[in-house]
Symmetry: C2
Subunit: 353 residues, 2 copies
DNA sequence: AAAATTAATGTAATCGATTACACAAGTATA
DNA sequence: TATACTTGTGTAATCGATTACATTAATTTT
């Protein structure tokens, strides 16, 4: 009986409990806790100290219901076990946690139905904003309409889609690819293949275009048959390179739009008894940690993911706090950095001379 | 003016709007939507169809406030850019999404203050449960007391701490380590070193104990100087192995409690011009994808992380739905599987004969 | 046909915090 | 001293959904 009583007593303290304790009303307590300037210093102190004594904690659900804000933000990524996305998320967290937001992470595994489902359930969970990297640019856009309708800020990072009024934070994929390809050309490569990917996504289209432009700008012949669309998976990279090596006139370099397929490429090349980088040079994209730790380290393009996440979060904060519904969308483009490693370095850099 | 009006009209439809539309009360609408048996078939249909027509969506915050459930579950991991934790989370999601729960993921980066902070903010966000892998077993347990006080189900996975009444899902680390060590012995290794880790965590203590027992059971000399505590990082593995190789009587095998330090070990061994597995065999732990994809693939212990996540989620569901406050805690232990690869396979298996 | 059930819906309180508006007491101004 | 501000609190509605407890109408039982 006594235990039961104690049990019931464990209910969370509310502002009403505090009000009763200090002999004021809940309204005053609420104002005191929120540092409303209309409250006298004496009352504020009394209330805040009593609140602490009584282990008061604000019921965020009630606040959310009243204010219409949940302080939850949805983040949607294709997958989170790649260092790139994990790092973007870390950047977002670093920026948002100090402001009292929580982050709900969803993975689409590149499936459109999961993407749509995630968006809907995030909206339903009353998130205050959605930061996402889309999986498929061809997906029906009515989900995006419903985000807009609810006036939930939407920010794209890395993989975006052109939607009027929606901000984005991306890297200059064209330039990253251009640099990578130029580097291969400078190493003496003449027939550079490109492992592309779903080009309905801007990132892959731009990597393709940057690659192509570098080839053309340096007077090499652009051969469309050296461009193959594949997936960002080790085994897919292997399969694709197997095909390339069967050509009568095989490539002497591979620029992959993904580190994972670059790794597969390297495995396949070695299996064919060819040397890297002497016979075939390889460059990947994303600077995943393994590229550095391989026995044969892989040249790759760094995308500064943590910074990308932080900036995306900052854009969200700006949009969510702005009272003006007529927001201008921001398009922020970061510059990538080519990290040169074993898999492509044939010529000693002039710097070492 | 008209646009402003349309804008205001965009407010979400509530059960009151539906009630007005069909000429009933909100209570009836609520019941009809929840398939309460007291509602007539005709009304139920009418209400549900009207709801659909009006694009009604339940306000989860209101439901949460009333019911005391947020349908959010917190998941705390040291980091999520390891395949192991990412996969556990995927398993949790697979089990929880269909039940209408959302998952809030927090990372501790192995810092105690972040761990405590995450727990507090999850509790404050009214999560219905916390699934976690602890970072530091020595951390003050008052945070755990506050979880218990709030009657929020807590389930440990992988890295647990002994707390009365708290369930856990782990793997048999002792056995995993025993199998790995036994395998090395069967390959002819005599001086097996162990890259250990913070042994205040049960997982690392048990891997150490399994290793030790296998050594003893097979009549080898147990040499404490071959056990070195390090961190689950590539560079830490390198550093540690550098020390081991300087010994007057260096090891002929390394059993690492982590794939990452195993990778560092391999790099360091190769840098010393030694052959793997001929001179030194290496076995890791966790079966991270890279262990399979390395040029020299790495033998490792698989922990079936997706299953671990699914089971942890199921335990949570059972606890959260149980009305009985006197819950028995469950301790579920999964069996690991040794995956033998290049880094330790000197002797051709008899099966191939 | 009166009494007792059953079925379907309505009334109103509730979850906890916020806030527009009202009001009283104190201070400043004319 | 009467009038006009301040300052600090209280009152009560609100956010949207749920649910114990009426209440009414329809059906069954005796």
């Amino acid at each position: 009986m006594f235990i039961l009583y104690l049990n019931l007593m464990k209910k969370k303290t509310t502002i009403y409990d505090i009000a009763k304790e200090v002999g004021l009303t809940a309204a005053t307590v609420s104002r005191a806790l929120n540092n409303n300037p209309k409250i006298s210093e004496k009352t504020r102190k009394l209330v805040q100290e009593t609140a602490k004594k009584m282990n008061y904690e604000q019921n965020t659900l009630a606040r959310a219901l009243k204010s219409g804000k949940s302080y939850n933000v949805g983040v949607i990524v294709p997958r989170m076990d790649s260092n790139f996305f994990a790092s973007v998320i870390r950047g977002i967290e670093e920026e948002l946690y100090p402001k009292g937001y929580h982050v709900i992470i969803c993975q689409t595994h590149d499936q459109e139905n999961l993407e749509t489902g995630n968006i809907n359930s995030l909206l339903n969970a009353q998130v205050d904003g959605i930061l996402m990297s889309i999986s498929n640019a061809k997906s029906k856009s009515n989900v995006f309409d419903s985000i807009a309708q609810k006036k939930v800020p939407l920010i794209f990072f890395d993989r975006k889609k052109e939607i009027p009024g929606v901000s984005s934070v991306t890297i200059d994929d064209f330039n990253g690819a251009y640099q990578a390809t130029k580097h291969l050309i400078e190493q003496g490569c003449k027939r550079i293949a490109h492992l592309s990917n779903n080009r309905s996504l801007e990132i892959f289209k731009n990597r393709y275009l940057g690659y192509k432009q570098a080839i053309i700008d340096h007077g090499l012949e652009f051969d469309e048959s050296l461009v193959i669309e594949t997936f960002s998976k080790v085994l897919e990279g292997r399969k694709t390179v197997k095909k390339l090596l069967k050509m009568k006139n095989p490539p002497d370099a591979i620029f992959s739009s993904s580190d994972f397929s670059a790794l597969g490429a390297i495995q396949e090349i070695k299996d064919h008894g060819l040397r890297i980088p002497e016979d075939i040079s390889v460059v990947g994209f994303s600077n995943e940690p393994f590229t550095k730790f391989m026995e044969l380290s892989i040249t790759s393009v760094d995308q500064s993911p943590i910074e990308m996440g932080r900036i995306a979060a900052k854009v969200f904060l700006k949009e969510v706090d702005s009272k003006t519904p007529k927001k201008e969308s921001e398009k922020i483009v970061l510059q990538p950095e080519l990290i040169i490693r074993d898999s492509s370095l044939k010529v000693k850099s002039e710097a070492s001379a």
